[in-house]
C-alpha cells in the first residue's frame, strides 16, 4: 500500500543545533515534494518545494534533500531557534497529472532555549 511517513511524531532539540526531520514514502514515484510549517490553530504555510531531479534545495536556514533511491526527503533547520517550534509536514505529488498533494502526519518540533 502507499504510505508517506514522518517517522518522528515529536522531536526536541536544543537551541542553536541543527534539526533534521525525515519523510519516507512507499509505493509512490513523486514528481515533487513539498514541506510546510503548521503552528497550533493555524493553516499550513509553504516552505520549500523540491523536484525529483533536484538533490537539494536551500532557503535561508532551511535545507531540503530528496533521494529517490532511498525514497526519502530530509528537512534541516540550522541554528534552530525557539521560534522554529511548530509542526512540519511533508507532502508529495504522487505522479504527473491532476493528482492532489498527499500529506504526512507531521513532526512536532520543539526547540528548547
Amino acid at each position: 500500500s502507499q504510505k508517506i511517513e514522518q517517522n518522528s511524531e515529536a522531536l526536541n532539540i536544543q537551541e542553536g543545533k541543527t534539526a533534521t526531520l525525515t519523510c519516507n514514502y512507499t509505493n509512490y514515484s513523486p514528481a515533487y515534494l513539498q514541506w510546510y510549517r503548521q503552528d497550533p490553530g493555524r493553516g499550513p504555510v509553504f516552505l520549500l518545494l523540491i523536484r525529483e531531479n533536484e538533490k537539494e534545495k536551500r532557503k535561508e536556514r532551511l535545507k531540503v534533500t530528496f533521494d529517490t533511491t532511498l525514497k526519502q526527503s530530509l528537512f534541516h533547520i540550522t541554528a534552530s531557534q525557539p521560534a522554529d517550534s511548530a509542526t512540519y509536514l511533508c507532502a508529495l505529488v504522487p505522479n504527473s497529472g491532476n493528482t492532489p498533494l498527499v500529506f504526512g502526519k507531521g513532526t512536532r518540533l520543539s526547540v528548547i532555549a
Partner: protein
C-alpha cells in the same frame, strides 16, 4: 490583506443539522481546495476546483457538497452532520493544479458536532 479567508472560524452544531463554510481567496489563483484535518492531525484532500470546475473529488460522503460561484470562492455545504464530521476544515488555493505549486491555506474552521 488576508490571502485565503474562511468563515466561520468555529462552528458548533448538533447532529443532523446542515451547515456551510465559506472560503475566499484574493490571490487570483485558478485552483482551490478543501482539506479535512482530523483529531490525529492527518490532513487529507476532499475536493479541488479549477476555474469553478470540480477536478478532484476524493472519497467523501455525498453529504458534502462544494460550490464555487466564481474562481475566488469555494464554499462547503454539509448536510445531516454526523459526529465523525468533527474536524478542522481548511480551504487552500494555488496558481497551478495538483501539487506543482505551493498552496496557500486559510486559517481553518473547527467544526464540532455534538
Amino acid at each position: 490583506d488576508t490571502a485565503v479567508s474562511q468563515t466561520p472560524k468555529y462552528l458548533v452544531t448538533q447532529m443532523g443539522n446542515d451547515k456551510s463554510i465559506k472560503c475566499e481567496q484574493n490571490l487570483g489563483h485558478d485552483t482551490m481546495y478543501w482539506y479535512k484535518q482530523d483529531s490525529k492531525k492527518f490532513l487529507k484532500i476532499m475536493f479541488s476546483y479549477n476555474n469553478k470546475e470540480l477536478i478532484i473529488n476524493e472519497t467523501v460522503p455525498n453529504r458534502f457538497s462544494p460550490k464555487s460561484p466564481d474562481k475566488a470562492h469555494l464554499n462547503l455545504h454539509i448536510n445531516s452532520l454526523e459526529l465523525g464530521d468533527s474536524a478542522v476544515y481548511f480551504c487552500a488555493s494555488s496558481q497551478r493544479t495538483s501539487g506543482r505549486g505551493e498552496q496557500f491555506f486559510g486559517p481553518g474552521t473547527r467544526l464540532t458536532v455534538l
